[in-house]
C-alpha cells in the first residue's frame, strides 16, 4: 500500500455494513481491497492516497457500522476512526458518507448521527443501479436539499460517478460545510424556515437554518422586532414561526424513533415507489427455495459437497501438469550436477522438490477461493448463516459465526480476524478459538494424497469425495461441543443477540472473484511458499546428513549378505540392484539426524499407527502444515518432484512396511493420519494471529494444547478401532 506523507488531509469513508464502501474505496484509490456481499468483510482500517485536483489526500476505508453507539469490535474500530480517537488519534477532515440508495431509511439513520459530528460531509449514494432496475425514481436535488450536503450517485464497480464524487470532495474542501439536518421538524416547517432564510439573506442577514430554528423556538428573539420593520419579511417570518410552534412535536419515546421518523420522511420525499410494493422480487423467489426449511438445508449440504467434490476432481489435471513440469525440470537439472552428489541432492530433492511440492497445492487453493468468493459475492453466505444459526445456537454461537468459520476453511487467519463482527466478547472468543479447527486449504494436500492412495483406488471416486467432505466436516462437528464447554465453564459475560442483514442476491462481480483468487494465490506462494522451501531444504539437510562412504559401503555389504542368505541367488542383476538401492537409502535415512530424531519419538506415535517416518513428517509440519507432503516425499526417499498427486509417492507409501513386514499404511492408518492433520494446530501464523487478536498469550497456548491433545487422542482412537475391526 502506498504511503501518504504526514500532514495531508484525511478523508474517511463511513457507512453501514455492505453499503458498498470498499467497492467505492477501490474505485477511488485504485486499491484492491476485499469486497463481499455480506456485512463485516472489512474489519480493519485500510488507507490509500486519493488524487484530487487540489492535491493528494489520504483516504481510509473503515469498517461498516449501524450506529455511533458501537456493539461489536469492528464497530468500535469504526467509531474511534470517525471520532479521531486511538489508535489513529486523528479526526478525518472530511467524511464520504456512503448511503445505499436501495436501503435509504436505515442508511440515513447512521447519516443522522454522523451529521451531528460537525465534520464536512459528502454523500456517495451507492446502488443507484438497483433503484433503476426496480424502476424506483430518485429526486436527487431534493435529497441533497434535505440532507444539507452534496449527494453524488455512484456505482463503484462500474466507475460510474467517481469523477463527480472527486469533484464534490474537492468543492467540500474548498468551502467546508457540515451537514445541515434537523430531524425534529416536519418538511413543511423546514421549507418555511428555508424561505425565511432566503428572504433574510436577500436583505444581507446571513443565518444558518439551525440558527433560525433556535431563534424561532426561543421565547425572546430579536428577529421578531427586526421583522416588524419589513412587511415582506414579517409575512415570511410569521409563517415560519407559526409552523415551528404548531409543529406537532413528534413526542417520540426515544432517540431512534426520532431519527427514523426523519429518515422515513426523507426517503419518501426522495424516492418514489412505483406499483405495488407487495410484488415478489427475484431475491424473494430465489429465497423461496434457498432458505426453505427442507429444500434450503438440502441445497446447503449439496453446495458444500459440490465445493469439495470439485476441488478434488478439477485440481487433478492441473496438478498432473505441474507435476510433469517439475519432473522434467529435475530430469534436466539433475544430470548437470552428476559430479557433485551433495549439491545434486540439495537442488533436485531439496529445492526443486520443495518448490514443486508447494506449487502443486496452488490449483486446489485457487479452486477453493473461487468458490468462497462466488458464494460471498452472490449473497448466499448470509443465507447459510441464517440456516446454520440454530445449529450453531445449540452450542452458544450464532449464525454470524458461520461466516468467520467458513472463511477459516480457506485459511484460519482471515477467519480469526473476521470474528470481529461478533457482537460480544464471549462469542468472538469462542469463534476465534475454534476457527483453527476448520479444515484450512493447507490441509488439503494431505487429504488428497491419502485419499488418492487408499480410498479412491479401493472405493471409487464417490467415496473419495465423501471422505474429503467428511474431513472438512470433522472440525465443525468437533467445534460444537468445545464451544459449548467454553461457554458453560470458561467464559464470563453476556451474549448479545444475533442480528444479520440479508442482502439481495446479485451476480458475483467476476473481477472481485479473480482478485480474491489472485491475492490468495500470491500470498500463498510468497508467504507460505517461503516457509515451505526453507523447511524443505532443512528437512532435506537433516535427512541427508550425516552421510559417509564407509557407512554406505557397509549397508551395501550387509544387504549383499542378506540377499545371498535369503534369496539363494548370486548378488547380480537389475532386481538385486534396485532392491539394494532402496535398502541403502532406507538405512541412510534411518541413520540421518532426522531419522534418529523420528526413531526417538516413535514410541509416542506408535499408538496412533505412525512409524518413525510418519512421526518425523508430522513433527516437521508443526511450524506450517503445508510442508508435510514435501517432507513425506523426502522421507520416503524419492527425491525431487513429490506432491500429493505423484504416483511415485503414492506407490512408496503404499509399499512402505513395518520392520516385521506388515504394511505400514492401512486404510485406518490413512484415516488416523488425516484426522490428526484435521485436528492438530500446526500453524505458527495462526497462533500469532490469535495472540494479536486476543492480546494475550493465554489463548494461543490454550488452542495449541487442546488441538494437539485432541488430534493425538483421536488418532490413537481411530488406530485402535481399526485394529479391533480387523
Amino acid at each position: 500500500m502506498a504511503t501518504v506523507a504526514a500532514g495531508t488531509r484525511l478523508v474517511a469513508i463511513v457507512g453501514n455494513p455492505n453499503a458498498g464502501k470498499t467497492t467505492l474505496f477501490n474505485a477511488l484509490t485504485g486499491s484492491r481491497q476485499k469486497v463481499g456481499n455480506y456485512p463485516g468483510v472489512t474489519v480493519e482500517r485500510v488507507s490509500g492516497p486519493l488524487q484530487l485536483a487540489s492535491g493528494s489526500v489520504e483516504c481510509v476505508d473503515i469498517p461498516g457500522l449501524y450506529s455511533m453507539s458501537p456493539v461489536s469490535e469492528d464497530e468500535r474500530v469504526a467509531v474511534a476512526a470517525i471520532r479521531g480517537e486511538a489508535p489513529a488519534n486523528r479526526q478525518p477532515d472530511l467524511l464520504i458518507c456512503v448511503v445505499d440508495a436501495s436501503n435509504l431509511e436505515r442508511n440515513l439513520f447512521l447519516f443522522s448521527q454522523v451529521a451531528e459530528l460537525g465534520i464536512p460531509t459528502v454523500v456517495a449514494l451507492t446502488m443507484v443501479d438497483r433503484l433503476e432496475s426496480a424502476k424506483r425514481l430518485l429526486d436527487l436535488s431534493r435529497l441533497s436539499n434535505l440532507l444539507g450536503v452534496e449527494v453524488v450517485p455512484v456505482v463503484g464497480h462500474k466507475e460510474r460517478g467517481i469523477k463527480d464524487l472527486l469533484e464534490a470532495v474537492d468543492r467540500a474542501f474548498e468551502s467546508p460545510q457540515p451537514p445541515d439536518v434537523d430531524f425534529t421538524l416536519s418538511l413543511e416547517t423546514k421549507a418555511k424556515i428555508a424561505s425565511l432564510r432566503e428572504r433574510l439573506a436577500r436583505s444581507g442577514e446571513d443565518f444558518t437554518k439551525r440558527e433560525l430554528k433556535d431563534k424561532l423556538q426561543s421565547e425572546s428573539n430579536d428577529l421578531a422586532s427586526y421583522a416588524k420593520d419589513f412587511p415582506e419579511i414579517e409575512e415570511v417570518y410569521v409563517r415560519a414561526l407559526d409552523a415551528v410552534t404548531s409543529d406537532v412535536e413528534p413526542t417520540p419515546e426515544d432517540d431512534s424513533s426520532y431519527r427514523y421518523g426523519w429518515s422515513t420522511m426523507v426517503s419518501r420525499a426522495a424516492i418514489s415507489e412505483p406499483g405495488d410494493p407487495g410484488r415478489k422480487t427475484l431475491t424473494d423467489r430465489i429465497d423461496h427455495i434457498l432458505t426453505h426449511r427442507v429444500w434450503g438445508m438440502l441445497v446447503f449440504a449439496g453446495v458444500m459437497y459440490l465445493v469439495f467434490q470439485s476441488i478434488y476432481s478439477f485440481a487433478g489435471p492441473l496438478m498432473d501438469g505441474i507435476d510433469w513440469i517439475f519432473g522434467k525440470l529435475s530430469g534436466w537439472v539433475g544430470p548437470m550436477l552428476d559430479g557433485a552428489p551433495v549439491l545434486q541432492s540439495l537442488v533436485v530433492d531439496g529445492l526443486i522438490g520443495g518448490v514443486g511440492g508447494m506449487l502443486v497445492f496452488l490449483p486446489q487453493i485457487l479452486i477453493l477461493f473461487f468458490f468462497i468468493a462466488v458464494l460471498e459475492g452472490t449473497g448466499y453466505l448470509a443465507r447459510a448463516a441464517f440456516l446454520m444459526d440454530r445449529v450453531l445456537g445449540w452450542c452458544g454461537l450464532n449464525g454470524r459465526a458461520f461466516i468467520p468459520l467458513l472463511s477459516s476453511f480457506a485459511c484460519a487467519i482471515p477467519g480469526i480476524m473476521a470474528a470481529r463482527v461478533m457482537p460480544d466478547v464471549k462469542s468472538r472468543l469462542a469463534t476465534i478459538l475454534v476457527a483453527p479447527l476448520m479444515s484450512c486449504s493447507a490441509r488439503l494436500p494431505v487429504y488428497v494424497l491419502l485419499i488418492g492412495t487408499f480410498i479412491a483406488p479401493k472405493y471409487g471416486p464417490v467415496w473419495a469425495g465423501i471422505t474429503l467432505f467428511a474431513m472438512h466436516l470433522l472440525g465443525l462437528v468437533v467445534a460444537i461441543p468445545i464451544v459449548w464447554f467454553l461457554n458453560r465453564r470458561v467464559f464470563k459475560g453476556t451474549r448479545l443477540p444475533f442480528l444479520l442483514e440479508l442482502p439481495p442476491y446479485q451476480w458475483p462481480k467476476w473481477k472481485d472473484v479473480w482478485l480474491a483468487m489472485y491475492f490468495r494465490g500470491k500470498v500463498f506462494v510468497t508467504t507460505a511458499g517461503t516457509i515451505i522451501v526453507l523447511m524443505s531444504v532443512l528437512i532435506w539437510g537433516l535427512s541427508y546428513f550425516p552421510r559417509s562412504n564407509e557407512a554406505t559401503t557397509r549397508y551395501e555389504q550387509t544387504f549383499e549378505r542378506q540377499w545371498v542368505e535369503t534369496e539363494k541367488q548370486e548378488p547380480f542383476g537389475d532386481k538385486y540392484k534396485s532392491a539394494q538401492d532402496s535398502y541403502v537409502a532406507e538405512q541412510q535415512l534411518a541413520n540421518s539426524y532426522l531419522g534418529r530424531f523420528g526413531k526417538t519419538l516413535e514410541p509416542v506415535f506408535v499408538p496412533a499407527g505412525f512409524d518413525w517416518r510418519i512421526t518425523t513428517a508430522v513433527l516437521s509440519a508443526f511450524p506450517a502444515r503445508e510442508t508435510v507432503v514435501p517432507s513425506l516425499g523426502i522421507i520416503f526417499n524419492l527425491g525431487g518432484d513429490v506432491d500429493e498427486g505423484s504416483v511415485d509417492l503414492q506407490q512408496a507409501i503404499n509399499r512402505a512396511k513395518w520392520p516385521d513386514g506388515r504394511p505400514l499404511f492401512t486404510v485406518w492408518t490413512a484415516i488416523s493420519l488425516m484426522v490428526f492433520f484435521a485436528l492438530c494446530c500446526q500453524c505458527m501464523s495462526t497462533l500469532a494471529t490469535i495472540r494479536r487478536e486476543t492480546n494475550s498469550w493465554k489463548w494461543p497456548v490454550f488452542v495449541f494444547t487442546y488441538m494437539t491433545a485432541l488430534a493425538y487422542l483421536a488418532s490413537v482412537g481411530i488406530n485402535f478401532l481399526g485394529q479391533a475391526l480387523r
Partner: protein
C-alpha cells in the same frame, strides 16, 4: 396505548407470512436499543418473510430491507397484526 387489546402478541408468536406492527417496546437493554437502531421502532410495520428450519431465527422485512433475528432474543417487543 393500545396495549390491552387481545390482538397484541409477542415476537415469539410470529409465524411465516404474518404482517405486524410494533405497538410497544418494554425493554431498555442494549440489545433492544440496537434493534431500535436497526429500525424496529414503535409504529414500524414488519413482514415475517421466513422462519428458519428449526423455528428460529426469523427473517423479517422492515423499512425496505431484510433482517434476520432470533424470536427468543427479541424480548419486550409487542406487535399487532395488520392487513
Amino acid at each position: 396505548m393500545p396495549l390491552m387489546r387481545d390482538s397484541v402478541m409477542t415476537f415469539s408468536e410470529l409465524k411465516q407470512g404474518m404482517r405486524v406492527r410494533i405497538v410497544g417496546i418494554h425493554n431498555d437493554s442494549p440489545e433492544a436499543r440496537r434493534l431500535k437502531e436497526m429500525g424496529m421502532t414503535v409504529g414500524t410495520t414488519l413482514n415475517v418473510v421466513k422462519v428458519a428450519p428449526f423455528g428460529d431465527p426469523v427473517e423479517i422485512d422492515l423499512r425496505g430491507y431484510r433482517l434476520c433475528l432470533r424470536k427468543k432474543e427479541t424480548l419486550g417487543f409487542d406487535v399487532e397484526p395488520v392487513e
